[in-house]
Symmetry: C2
Amino acid sequence: MKNKSITSRDEDFAKWYTDVVQAAHLASYSNVKGCIVMEPNGYALWENMQKVLDGMFKKSGHQNICMPLLIPENLMRKEGDLINGFAPEVAWVTKGGDKELEERMCIRPTSETLFSDYYSTLVKSYRDLPVKYNQWCNVLRWEKETRPFLRGREFLWQEGHTIHETSEEAEQETRGMLEIYRKFFEEYLAIPVITGRKTEKEKFAGAEYTLTVEALMYNGVSLQSGTSHYFGQKFSKAYDIKFLDRNNNWQYAYQTSWGVSTRMIGGLIMVHSDDNGLVLPPKIAPKPVIIIPIKESDTVNNYIDQVASQLEEKGIIYSVDRSEKSAGFKFAEAEVNGIPVRIEVGDRDLEKGVVTLVRRDTREKIEVAKDENIAEVVLKLLDQMQKEMYNRALDRRNSLTFEAHSFEEVENIINTHPGFVKAMWCGDEACEVKMKEIKGTKARCILEDAEPIDDNCVVCGRPAKHLVVWDIQY
Amino acid sequence: MKNKSITSRDEDFAKWYTDVVQAAHLASYSNVKGCIVMEPNGYALWENMQKVLDGMFKKSGHQNICMPLLIPENLMRKEGDLINGFAPEVAWVTKGGDKELEERMCIRPTSETLFSDYYSTLVKSYRDLPVKYNQWCNVLRWEKETRPFLRGREFLWQEGHTIHETSEEAEQETRGMLEIYRKFFEEYLAIPVITGRKTEKEKFAGAEYTLTVEALMYNGVSLQSGTSHYFGQKFSKAYDIKFLDRNNNWQYAYQTSWGVSTRMIGGLIMVHSDDNGLVLPPKIAPKPVIIIPIKESDTVNNYIDQVASQLEEKGIIYSVDRSEKSAGFKFAEAEVNGIPVRIEVGDRDLEKGVVTLVRRDTREKIEVAKDENIAEVVLKLLDQMQKEMYNRALDRRNSLTFEAHSFEEVENIINTHPGFVKAMWCGDEACEVKMKEIKGTKARCILEDAEPIDDNCVVCGRPAKHLVVWDIQY
């Protein structure tokens, strides 16, 4: 019964992943190196993610704007850390039409520079603060190795950029947006996440500190899934974002930025999907329900009409597959595309007085009396699936979360099966670098306000400062 | 009472336009030459336009996808007319990080090439057709002279690209999408449009023919506002989009593309706005209603709460301006931002048993008994405003639409006051070029199936083939 176009997840996880991406029509490779075509199913997922997140952003007082795609080199260079961090991976436009440009421009890898430049002209007084803007756009980073949704030269994301009167307010914003991301991952994507602070080595180029949302994939590898940065006055000094404060003195504004991207689609796949294709949490599925007639007849069609009007009444998005393909083919297609609930309607079932619902996540078949209100049954089922998918992901993560008390223990765990490894760290970059020797293990994040599990750093044995979660990553 | 930051429309239309753009916070100039920052009010308008159009596209069977931003030169050059048309105005990426690229890439000026390349791998049989995809994205054209929303190096748009089994189907799509644009302009933007075919000289590079939606601005200048192209098999031959037809023979697909852009925001401004700022048709206004307390008091606040709950019940989006600015200042701000209906709530009015509604379009003040259901009054008013704005725009257009029977007549009309000038044409490009001598007058479109108004071409006097609408343009 396994989908033949999909490699087994346990056999070759990387191959399984790209098989699912293609079989579920989420994306296909393009003739533009390192770039994908997001196909209808993939883009519809992104549209749904956008809709939910955009609502959350607007509710918390943010507005959308749109900045230019290109950044003149001179503007990009105003803040040293940022350009140093991004210079190796930006694409440069050097010609417009037939003319060499006087100043080359890069395609935005991120837009701190443009927002800062704009904010410097926008703000004059503390009365103009805070400014809380966001944009949905494409960005480009000249990556060498790419993988659909996880790492690509071009990707879609949102980048929020805010400026505030005080550091307290800006720090509150940094944490508030992290909280929105956490909520979105847990409540909509059914992905449990850990949150914490990036180390100095892993933080965003130019940030005072970076907070992160980290998720664990089915195979135990980590995915950095969203970040929220506190900049202090670093950019506002470089770009001259000044305002007159309440005492009529000039002050530099305090700044944040935060973003999530189409990478979340990769996370969704790698947490929930299986050997039969995509599995989607109902709350983010573009089409939660499909009705498939096993064989069309008047009885079947009448019953489908009845169910359809029940679904419409409850506002449940559904489709009916009346194409000429065989029922078996349609079932497989609905399955590979990750449609959460499939309603199979056949004459034999109806004669017995039942209709069959199939859950995509567990592939369980549920017989329901045909005279029940099917929409109500479906609503309850979708709700239950959403919760159970989260709980299964949480169980999986818990079973792949470890504590280590020595470097050897970290080594053993990662070499046996990767996962979140909690271990103490002295705060010294040398120890972080040493950790990379274990298959590239990195600090995912520092767990803030966590109880220490040891006194000493697992690498150097000196007194430890932080409890850190370590793992290999995408 | 005139807004001081806005030049008078009749005095200097061009200056008035950019004043409105800035005063209404639609866009501001950026430090990236030829590119703007779309500010919250401008972007919210675009979001609303997207929402309505996207709904129309989906309802007519289109799906969204996302193509790469960059096009390798070799791929771009496969169809000769397209590259010749766009070569002078594309931006070239020649470096990725520190490395010179082996093949330079251009930033998409439009994506026929990428869609065609993708479709060539997607389609194998007539059963796979039609494919009706659209994308919302940014594009770049290296324009020399730019004007916010009307012409910019970068703009946002949607580009639909479809392939079909037969020419009939593809031509039907080309016309169907033009009809959707017409409907959107008339019903939502309250802008009457003429539709027709572009001349060979003015059609899209690479198209068999181009259909267009043309609108007349307040000052009598034309704005090409949306286009729909029929490609026949031109791209499908260049990019090898082949399928097995019903007789098991290889066939090339028939193709279309169609697009509208943020340019529509420029059209909205230039058709409806006035010396006091932006005027928006209610159906496209991000926030159709604002409630302004003249001076806050318990009575005023209670009444506002009552109106607010009535508005919410009817699903009308509104805001309450409780900021510390003076009432006069708030009125002016609501006006410049083009909020269709302003509800002024004051103690004196309430004592008299009334509340004042102000229409933005006519600036008319309407006293309503305070005990009426204000939301119902507002709904009716918004509906009436929408219709009246369309009718006013139509009257204006009619008063600026002329018939000319000789070259001199065309010259006289355009030199006195530009507008749509209907005149016969022989079909010869030389006559079209001659027409340009009149301040750059161009053929807006050929009116298909129109009654001829003369036998001969107004330029050369030879037998005429088409009734054409001529005008100067943005």
